[in-house]
Each structure stands twice: as C-alpha cells, then as structure tokens.
C-alpha cells in the first residue's frame, strides 16, 4: 500500500511545481500593470521604473520565478505591494475560513446529491428519474452569485434569520460562525449538487446495468441488500473521483461568494490582489487555492485507488 502512496506522491510534486509556474506566468503576462495600479494613473515613467526595480519586476521572468519559488518553499511569500505587510501570515490566517466554508458547502451538496442521485439511478427511465434529472439541471444552472443575492434578500433582509454578511470566527462562537456561513454554503452547495446528482445517478445506472447485479438477484438478493451491498459500494468509487473535480469548481467559486458575503477567506484575498494588482498577494492566494484543489483531487484519486481492489493488485505484482 505504501508503494501506491509513494508513487502517487512522486507524480504529485511535479504537478504542484508546474502549476505554480503556470500561475506565475498567468499573473505576469502583462508587464507594468502592478506599478500603475499602486502608484496611480498619473505615475511618471521614472516612478514606475523605480517601483519595478525596487520589487525586482525588471528582472527576467525565470529569475523572478526562481526567486519567488525559493522563498515560497521556506514559507516567505513576500510583502504586499500596497501596504508592505507580510503576505504569508495573512494567507495562513484565511485558509481555515475558506476550508470551513468549502467543506460545509460540499457537505450540503453531498447530502442532497447522494440520495437523489441514487434514487434517480434506481428508478431509471421512470417518472422520478426524469424529474430528478431536470431538478439537477435546474440546480446546476443557477448562477451562484444571483442565488446569493436572492438568499440575502429573502432570509437576511426580509426574514432576518441570517446576517447579510461578515464572518464570526469559529473560536468566538460556533453557532454564530455556522450562521454566518450558512447562506454562503447554500449558495455554493446547491449549485454543486446539480452536477453531483448527475454523477451519482450515472454511477448507479452503470452499476445497475452490470451483469453482477443479475447474478445477485438470481441468488435471491432483495432490493435493500441489493442497494446497500452491491449498488452503493460499486457506485461510490466513480463518484469519488469525479466528485473531487466538482470540489475544485466549488473552491474556485469561493472567490465570488466570499466577496458577496464579505467573508475573510482566501477567495476574497484573491480579489483584493487582482483589484490592486498586488502580485505577491495574488500569487500567494491563488497558489493556496490551487494547492487545496490539487490536494483534494490527489486524496480522492488515492482513496479510489486504495479502495478499488483491482488497483491494489497491480502494485502487489
């Protein structure tokens, strides 16, 4: 088993490195914008030149990257262009918030998707299947920022059950924390559940069409045992792998939702970095998000491989 983990880790590391390079490239595609953003439109060419030299922006890209990467590994993510505050600690402070939000949202999504998807799959081509599939499309088509606005209007302004925004730290008040994350989590989770319902449904349908289901039925297996021992177990594996990809979409969407609800997570930090062209901040925050997504995908693939006995065999040999 350790062989599999080690093997996977081996291909994971280069992935992170290449991802960081791509990010670095994406951020630095257009030169000069950082200086102008910080100094203002009126900045003189000399001021810009001085700024760039001060921050090392006039060096060739690969040297900039090497420099950044070298420091980043040690945990030093530079200081913000705007206010010269160290970026690293700020990112570290915000990561748990985003993870909490994302986990809550994903939890809601799974809670909706697994039962509905399984139901649709088991009742394939009957009325309930069509209804659930349409519902899934409905959920998946919802723009999360609009849903957020709608939820704020109804449940925060009109009914007053939830705050319109802001975040109560977990340490201060668990209930308050959950309350402040509730609407954001629903905005994210409901939309994600759309795709997840489809994935679960597809997995269940494929399992139901397998020959081994017929074999089980011929032994006298009843519907309950069939579902739990045969269908569910077999469907979870594909669900995991594809579900992890959806988690990636969800984490990306925190950039918008954290902004709408004024939640101090990494998502809103990315936006701050963009608006101010604050490269160190942008890079660090983007890197953090990407890392979370890559990590989740890595864990999901790993679990799938470990659970699926067919994969274990290949390494045993």
């Amino acid at each position: 088993m350790w062989k599999i983990i080690a093997g996977r880790l081996l291909s994971f590391v280069p992935t992170i490195i290449i991802a960081s390079m791509i990010l670095f490239l994406a951020v630095n595609v257009v030169p000069g914008s950082a200086a102008r953003a910080v100094l203002g439109i009126q900045a003189t060419p000399q001021a810009i030149k001085r700024f760039e030299h001060k921050h090392g922006l006039d060096r060739p890209l690969y040297i900039q990257y090497a420099d950044w990467a070298g420091k980043a590994i040690k945990g030093d993510f530079g200081t913000s262009f705007q206010n010269s505050v160290a970026v690293g600690p700020e990112v570290a402070k915000r990561i748990p918030v985003t993870i909490l939000l994302a986990s809550l949202a994903f939890g809601i999504a799974i809670l909706i998707a697994v039962p509905l998807g399984a139901l649709a799959g088991m009742r394939h081509q009957k009325m309930s299947d069509g209804t659930i599939t349409t519902l899934a499309t409905l959920f998946g088509s919802t723009p999360n920022f609009w849903l957020a606005t709608l939820l704020i209007y109804l449940f925060a302004l009109k009914f007053g059950w939830f705050p319109t925004g802001g975040y109560v730290p977990f340490q201060d008040s668990v209930l308050g924390s959950l309350k402040s994350l509730c609407l954001p989590a629903i905005s994210l989770g409901l939309v994600s559940s759309g795709l997840l319902i489809r994935i679960m449904r597809a997995a269940v349908i494929e399992t139901m069409e397998s020959n081994h289901i017929d074999t089980a039925i011929s032994k006298g297996v009843g519907p309950r045992r069939l579902f739990f021992s045969h269908v569910l177990r077999n469907s979870i594996i594909p669900f995991l792998t594809v579900g992890a990809v959806e988690f990636g979409f969800l984490v990306g969407s925190v950039v918008i939702i954290e902004d709408v609800f004024r939640i101090p997570g990494i998502g809103s930090l990315v936006l701050v970095g963009i608006i101010n062209r604050d490269y160190p901040v942008l890079l660090a925050a983007s890197m953090a998000i990407t890392l979370i997504v890559l990590l989740v995908n890595f864990l999901a693939d790993l679990s799938a491989q470990l659970i699926d006995p067919r994969q274990v065999k290949n390494v045993r040999n």
Binding site: G7, N211, T215, S218, K219, G220, G222, H230, P309
Partner: protein, 578 residues
Amino acid sequence: MNKSLHHGHPLLRVEKLSIQNFRSGGEDSKILDEISFDVFPGEIVGLIGESGSGKTISSKAILRMLPHSMKITNGSISFKDTDLLSLNDRQYEKFRGKSIALIPQDALHALNPVQKIGTQVAEPFSIHGDLTKKEKKSKVFELFSRVNITNPENRYDNYPHEFSGGMQQRALTASAIALKPPLIIADEPTTALDVTIQARIVDLIRNLSRELGISFLFISHDLGLISNLCDRVYVMRYGKIIESGNTETIFKTASHPYTLALMNSRPKLLENPHRLTTIEADNGYKRSDENGTKAIIVDPKAGSTNQASRLSNKATSNHESKVLFEVKNLSKTYSNNGFFSKKNYQKALTNVNFKLALGENLGIVGESGSGKTTILRILLKLTPYKEGSVDFSGKELNEIRLEQLKDFRRNVQPVFQDPYSTFNPRFSIKSSLELACKLSPDKNESRVNSEVKEMFNLVGLDQQLLHSFPHQLSGGQRQRAAIARALLCRPKILLMDEPTSALDVSIQAQVLNLIKDLQAQFKFSIIIVTHDLPVVSFLCNRILVMKDGKVVETGETGTIIKSPSHDYTKNLIQSVPI
C-alpha cells in the same frame, strides 16, 4: 446417460408460455409463442437455439428477471406444485437461489469486481439462512472443492480479477449449488471461455448433476455441447419450440429441416462436404433480420460449377507456387510505455516461422493469448515488428513504402472479427465500398459504381442495402459487405480474424460457403485466424497451431487433425464437441 423415461411429476413445467415485448414508441413483438417444456428430477435438459430464439428469455421468465418491457401474456410456469406466476415479488426472492439457481452467461462480468469471491459464493447462505461467519466460510470451502477450486484459504480472499475466466465460472457454479437447489439454469455458461475450458465446465456440470442429483436446464447455441451433456433437448426458433425429444433420438432422426440444417451447418473436424448445409434465405426460412440477403449463386461467368466443385482442399497445380508470405523467426514483445510506471514486458510472439504460397489456405489456431491475432496484425502491417523478418512477395514488410505500399495494400486485405464496428457508422455502405475501389488496379471513375454493385450482388446482398447505413444491416449482412469491400481491389490474399465467430450458426455456414465460392471465382488465398478447428478443416489445407506465442505444430490440416503429435493439439482436438 440415457434417461428417457419420465419419472412422474415434473420438477419444472412450463406450459403454453407466451411473452410479448411492449415497446413504447415502437412495435410490440412476440418473444415467445406458447412454449411448453418440462424438466424432471435428476435430468439435464437442453434448450438450443440461435440468437432471437427466445431461449434466454425463457430462463429469465422462470426466474422472474424479465426486462421491464416484456410481459407474460399467456401460459403458466410451475415448480413442483407451486404456480410461480401467482407468487408476489417477496416470495420470489425466497425462491431464487434456494429452489432455482442460475449460472449466468458471460463469466467474466458476472461477479462483483469489488467484493471478495468468498463473500459472493457465501451470499446465498447469508440470504437464506442463519449461519455464523465461520460456518459460512467452511461451507464455501466445501463448495470450492466440489468445483475444483484449489487452495481455498487464499482463494476465498481473492477478488474476481485474480481469477481466470474458467475459475470465475466455477465460482459462479459454486454459488449456484450452494443451497443444493433442485433445479439450476445454466445460461450459455461457456461462451466467452476458451474451448478447452468449455469442455471442463461441461464435465463439471455433468458430475454435479450426478453427485448432487440436481436437475439442469442447459441453454446454448452449441449443438455439440448439448449433445454431449443433455438427456433431452428442445430446439427453439423465433420463440417457438420446433422439435423436442431425447438427445440421441433427435440426432439420429431429426425431422424438422431447421434442426437438420442446424446439425449439418457446422463444419466437422474431418471429411467436410464441399458446401455446408444452410438455411437458404429464400427457402421460406428467412430470418427476420436477413431481409435483403439472397442465396448465393456461383457466377456462371467465372467458370462452370464443375470447376467450383473440383476445388478441393489441395493447392491446384495450375497456380505457380509463388510464395506470398514468408515469416522467419518473428518475435514480438509489448512493453507499456509511460513516464511514471515501471516498464512491463510481455512476449506476444516467439520465433514464429511459416510460409504461405499462392493457392494455399492457412488456418492459424489457438486460444486467447496464443498470439494468433498479433501475427495477423503484423502481416497486415497494422502492428510493427522489430525481431525477425516478414516477407511479402519477396519484399521485407518493414521496407515497403510509398508506391510499393500501395501495391501491398491492394494485395493484402483484411476481414475483421467484429461486424458491428467494421463500417464507419456515419457513411452509407456504398460510400464505404467506393473507398475500396480507389485502390483497385484500374482506376476508372465511371466503372466504380458498377463494380460496387456487381460485388455486392456476388456476396449475396440486395441492391437496396447499398444505400443503407451500417446500423440498418444485421451482423451477417455486414460481414458479407466487409468481404465485398476486401475483394473490390482484387487482392491476392485475404487475412481474416475470426470472421464468423460473432455470427449465429446458420449464418456462419452461409458466410463460410460464400468464402469458398468467392475463392473459386477470384482465386485468392486466405489466412484465417480462429479458435474454431472445424472451420479450419473446412476452409484450409494447412494449419498452424499456436500456444503462448509459440508455434506448437504445423502441417497439412487433414494430417495434423488425424494424428496430432503435440499434446496441446491433442487437447484442442479432444475439446471440440461432437
């Protein structure tokens, strides 16, 4: 084993059973038309028929596992004294596995891939009884030994992919006999398995029936298997039972033309007729999916029928003994290339040698994994080779390029195994056939149309099918069209990979006859790769036997089959039913 007497009460009685398929948005069709058959205690009954005969549906009906769109419209099914149709679903669950069990088709996919074998074999005990884990496990060990699965301790914890095809089938058999049900339905339990394994499974079933007194309903399309195993036989066609009786009696005195044709349409190991008996398409026994197929007429222009009937399995001296293919010391190793995985080497071929001259027909026989398909693909220049040499008409295959390549392609044409993927689904058959003409020696644009029409006719297909799309043709029709495509450029040799394995027995005979007739007319050689020895005996004068990538034996077909020297060849020959 001759149990022709009916011992009183039948175990299973199916009476005037009719099943209809109600398709929303399509026509309803009758699947079974008042079928009646019995199974008595202790006997093995065979249901034989081709695809579409309704034999598998009958078994599904007995277990109440019909697809949703099919409903029983008439008749009754009773087991011992219980009317099965009156039971509700809950009661039926108690019935399955305990009173009637199933050994399913397609052993390779019938087991749950993520559950241990032991758990799956033990499942009947988990459903129908109250045993402890230990007790269940020991029962499973017992079952393993009955079905000859050795090393039970380890095998219990294995997963299906760690079992070979034959062992998976044994595991399925084990779980079927677990509760010692009075009746077991074996639904084509040997398809997808190699010939030698098939024979062993059949032996197993026979032994189990004797030892445990279990009755079997054995469903198959393979006459040979049925005649070996079953006491009584029912012959089915288009949802009706055409003939029934003791196995011996049926095979000696079959009266219905269909049964006769079924028996005689299979090629034999030795002493084959010049043409196989077939159910000619326009004899009133036309299959519903063979619309547009006509009986084959030997082209009078090509020479008299005399010449055709004189075409024996010997190379005629009229032809020069020009060597077409010469293969020397051919080896092929596959390695999986990946950046991040360890390289895995698999030797597919080791030191293969043979020659094929013009006018000769070679049959390459072997089971799965023997490398026979690899040889064909290399000869077709579809798979590259590095070790050894392959010559076509004196030129090394690896050195043939450009213009010579065009010549090569024109002279060496394939017929593939799977008729369902052999044509591009987006284009009409005509369009796909016209492609072949681009290769032919005289590239005359105006003649393309007539050439295609003529060839289509010659393979026994109706002109109207030319404009159809592949999915509108049956498997047999598509295979004929594939042969037409291959012959349009007048190749010197046809390389065929199991060309008839995917077809029903009666269609197989037609296509085999077709190949022979076309050979008489166009004078091409063939290399045919197959696991089916009798086919080789029918078509080829030379044979090459392969096992695990090596040539085991080679020589004249008749000689080898009459007196094989290698053990493996002997084994293969013995495994052929009948």
